[in-house]
């Protein structure tokens, strides 16, 4: 079934297809229409779910945690300040090994108030133990929502799927809605092995002595390792069933390319057209789309980028005092390669606070990359009013 949906509606419809059982959510621009759509879906009886209309994002996540612990599949969505407010409970969900799925609409942090996109909100939650997937289109948002449950429940870790404010959240696209029967086949009902069960009582989350805490963290690391495989499998299975797949990374026109632009989110779509133009003009430049931040697909990235001449990472975020987060991540995984296989990696800060990342900016980056001195790897602020 084809429908014209916004990115936010796509997330809501994804949760519907996945048969989320408990929704616990709080509105925030630009996420609000996700939960409005879900409220509508639940009200119309299209989804048999309990919608807890909580009073804060903190409680939204607490609600997901509680319901998930009771054995229900849960969904929530938030953005920016809301995600920051949840921070404590992001850790909680992950350490409690609860496969909660959440959509986060990337929005810049205040103050001053900004409702427009950048990735600082979600990247700041990098270390909470959540899987993170950055989406490029409304179809990908919907499909990733369904896949997220498949992966989360396979490894018992929560998953955050991320979409850009307005560029996706409020932009309509034609979206294919997978059939309910096929979706149910792809994603069977949630059946946790251990949960709040009066017939098999356990106490969850008691004090852990020093001599055993590390082992639980180690098990989470192992689960993240598993998630690398689970994510690929979930995508492969999805493709086999629905004819669409995305990969945790995507190579776009990279064959033989000396120069690589690395993107995430909606910047990717714009970059695709710029790459097309530049290749037509004879530039040896291709695109690496990063979809998954956690677990970081280190092997894949190393394989793709080794031996290239130069790499430009387009960071729609800034870890002030250091630089763009994606570039740090990529540099750190590339460090293991022999020096002759290791291209210089340049960090381009773009589109903070929702500023348009235009084809002109991206072309500027590609051209800059070709001529920038090797040693000058400092961050480059694109479009900065100097």
């Amino acid at each position: 079934m084809q429908k014209v949906l916004t990115g936010n509606q796509s997330a809501a419809w994804g949760a519907m297809c996945a048969k989320a059982q408990v929704v616990s959510a709080y509105p925030i621009t630009p996420q609000t229409t996700i939960i409005e759509e879900l409220a509508d879906i639940v009200a119309k009886g299209l989804l048999d779910a309990k919608f807890i209309k909580v009073e804060s994002e903190h409680s939204a996540m607490a609600g997901c945690i509680g319901a998930q612990a009771a054995g229900a599949r849960t969904f929530t969505a938030t953005s920016s300040q809301g995600l920051a407010l949840m921070h404590e409970l992001l850790h909680w969900a992950a350490l409690a090994r609860l496969p909660v799925v959440m959509a986060n609409v990337n929005r810049a942090m205040a103050p001053g108030w900004s409702i427009w996109t950048d990735q600082n909100d979600s990247l700041a939650q990098r270390d909470t133990g959540w899987l993170q997937f950055y989406c490029e289109s409304n179809q990908e948002v919907l499909d990733t929502t369904i896949q997220a449950y498949k992966i989360a429940e396979a490894v018992n870790l929560p998953v955050m799927l991320i979409l850009d404010a307005f560029f996706l959240s409020h932009t309509y696209e034609a979206v294919d809605i997978p059939g309910q029967e096929a979706t149910s086949k792809y994603l069977p009902p949630y059946k946790p092995s251990i949960y709040l069960n009066v017939d098999d009582p356990h106490a969850f989350g008691g004090i852990v002595p020093q001599d055993i805490y590390m082992e639980f963290r180690y098990k989470m690391q192992l689960a993240m390792d598993e998630a690398l495989i689970a994510a690929d499998k979930a995508d492969d299975d999805f493709k086999a069933m629905f004819g669409r797949g995305y990969g945790v990374v995507e190579e776009y026109r990279l064959d033989g390319a000396d120069y690589v632009l690395v993107t995430s989110g909606t910047v990717t779509s714009t970059t695709r057209t710029v790459i097309d133009d530049l290749q037509e003009k004879g530039h040896s430049v291709g695109l690496l789309k990063m979809k998954m931040l956690r677990p970081f697909p280190a092997e894949k990235v190393r394989k793709i980028l080794s031996g290239r001449k130069r790499v430009a990472v387009l960071d729609r975020n800034i870890s002030v005092g250091m630089g763009g987060v994606w570039s740090q991540e990529i540099r750190s995984v590339m460090y293991h390669l022999p020096e002759d296989q290791r291209p210089p990696i340049y960090d381009y800060i773009v589109g903070l606070g929702g500023r348009d990342v235009t084809p002109e900016f991206i072309e500027e980056i590609a051209l800059d990359l070709e001529k920038r001195p090797v040693k000058d790897c400092d961050q480059v602020w694109i479009g900065l009013k100097e």
Binding site: Q21, K50, I52, G66, A69, G71, H202, I207
Partner: protein
Amino acid sequence: MRALPHLKQFTEVAEQEIMHSGHVACPGCGAAIAMRLALKTLGRRTIIVFPACCWAVIDGPFPYSACSVPVFQVAFETASISAGAIRAGLDITGKKDINVVAWAGDGGTFDIGFGQLSACAERNDNIIYVCYDNEAYMNTGIQRSSATPWGSWTTTTPGTDFKKERKKNLLEIMAAHRIPYAATTTVAYPDDLIRKFRKAMSIDGFKLIHIFSPCPPGHKALEKDSILESRYAVESRVFPLYEVEHGTHYKLSMDPPQRPVRDYLALQGRFKHLTDEQRDFIQKSTDEEWARLMHFMKVSEAVE
């Protein structure tokens, strides 16, 4: 060795023992008594939610638990929503006849979890919210909370800087939410406590039970005096036992002969610095609060 039906025997206490020995509550802990009696009443089809509070520790370190019902430990401020969400999860997965109980201290209730508590009450989530109130942050070592009474010493209200603010009136706040059921009780009166839990179990929607829970180290009282202190709290009217149905109908649970507040204060080292005038002040404000409560009772009767 003969059975004597003496005058004030507690007859409602169930045989089933759901709380295990070996928990790590301090000797004489009121909250441990409260839990034991509550679990005896609630039974095994119960899920308990602990936010950060003494009971988060009392229950025992991994891999052990003092409660033979499912326990879910949650973040400090989230007892209410967690319980409400567990209920939602049970409902949607078709699990019936289970008591979902949030079991929080006064910190998690009066302070850090207060917003969530209010929201949960407003949503009328079908849970029993229990606040075992020991009138300070005891788990972190006796710091003042908004449940700490006027005049009390704590480690953050030391010396002459004893607490100069009054205790929040939780029941009035909760009554203002017009929840189906709110009640105060305390460990010295097991039958009252049990009856209120039973009542809460029989009602759909948000139920709040506020348990005054003596804390020997925090109140600087003798371990053996926990029940005495609890009883004096009621007799002195510092902690009256009553119920509020639907937020408007007040009902006094018992009205023992009034005991001077001084008797209650005298059991506790946390009040030992108070002068006679200050003790009189507490007596006066206790009397005023009582008069106000009696007014509510009267209004309730008139409405009936």
